[in-house]
């Protein structure tokens, strides 16, 4: 019996867009407002969860052809890597460095290694959640 999901899928398009934007926003604002790598990552992954729910695995994987295990590993690598990076510069392990830069579009911006660290966190979260869900569902 075919189940018609047109309404859901249409709404999802907008909703996922909102969620993704919100997730990125949360991730970026983490340093000064609620949010950060974890929550950003979790929100992003909840967008993926929604996609999986509304569509099916094959469709989603066709749309986003990544190996999420690798993404998770990359995230973990980034997180550990920032630590090693600071160690290489002769600082204490996991010392975060920050600097102010003037970028063409954004103007005065603060860039920090925390951002890399948080990006690692977010990537891992996304990678792991998606890996778990897709692995379980594939095992039917």
């Amino acid at each position: 019996m075919k189940i018609n999901d047109v309404i859901l899928q249409t709404v999802t398009k907008i909703v996922v867009f909102i969620i993704l934007t919100f997730g990125v926003e949360l991730f970026l604002s983490g340093h000064n407002n609620p949010g950060g790598g974890f929550i950003g990552g979790l929100v992003l992954s909840s967008a993926f969860v929604l996609l999986y729910l509304v569509h099916d695995i094959e469709t989603v994987h066709k749309g986003i052809p990544f190996d999420f295990k690798k993404i998770a590993a990359l995230g973990a690598f980034l997180a550990v890597g920032t630590g090693i990076g600071s160690a290489l510069f002769g600082k204490h392990f996991l010392t975060q460095a920050a600097g102010h830069f003037t970028l063409p579009v954004f103007g005065e911006t603060e860039l920090s290694t925390v951002l890399v660290f948080e990006a690692g966190v977010a990537l891992t979260v996304v990678g792991v959640v998606v890996t778990i869900i897709s692995t379980i569902s594939e095992d039917v």
Binding site: I18, F22, P34, L50, E58, S137
Partner: protein, 94 residues
């Protein structure tokens, strides 16, 4: 004045949540419960909005949006689970 109104509405929302929990327990069918859970979520959103007014902070506004998103996702998941058992299919429409 505003303070009192806020407190009253908080209590009202809490009553709603309690009733929804009652519905979850009573059932009788699974969709009843899911709807009630949805309602809990929605009312929590409202409560958080009120709380953030009372605390005079903007820190919780994110939570409102998140809860909105999540209760939606939760409801979809539950309804799919009730409807089809499996909530994420490998391939749609086999």
């Amino acid at each position: 004045m505003i303070e009192t109104m806020m407190t009253i509405s908080l209590v009202l929302f809490s009553i709603t949540i309690s009733i929804a929990v009652l519905r979850i327990i009573l059932g009788p069918s699974m969709p009843d419960r899911v709807i009630a859970l949805d309602m809990v979520g929605v009312n929590l959103i409202a409560m958080i909005a009120v709380v953030s007014i009372m605390l005079k902070t903007k820190a919780f506004l994110e939570v409102i949006l998140i809860l909105g998103i999540l209760s939606f996702i939760g409801t979809i998941a539950f309804s799919k689970s009730i409807e089809r058992g499996v909530i994420v299919e490998r391939k749609r429409d086999r």
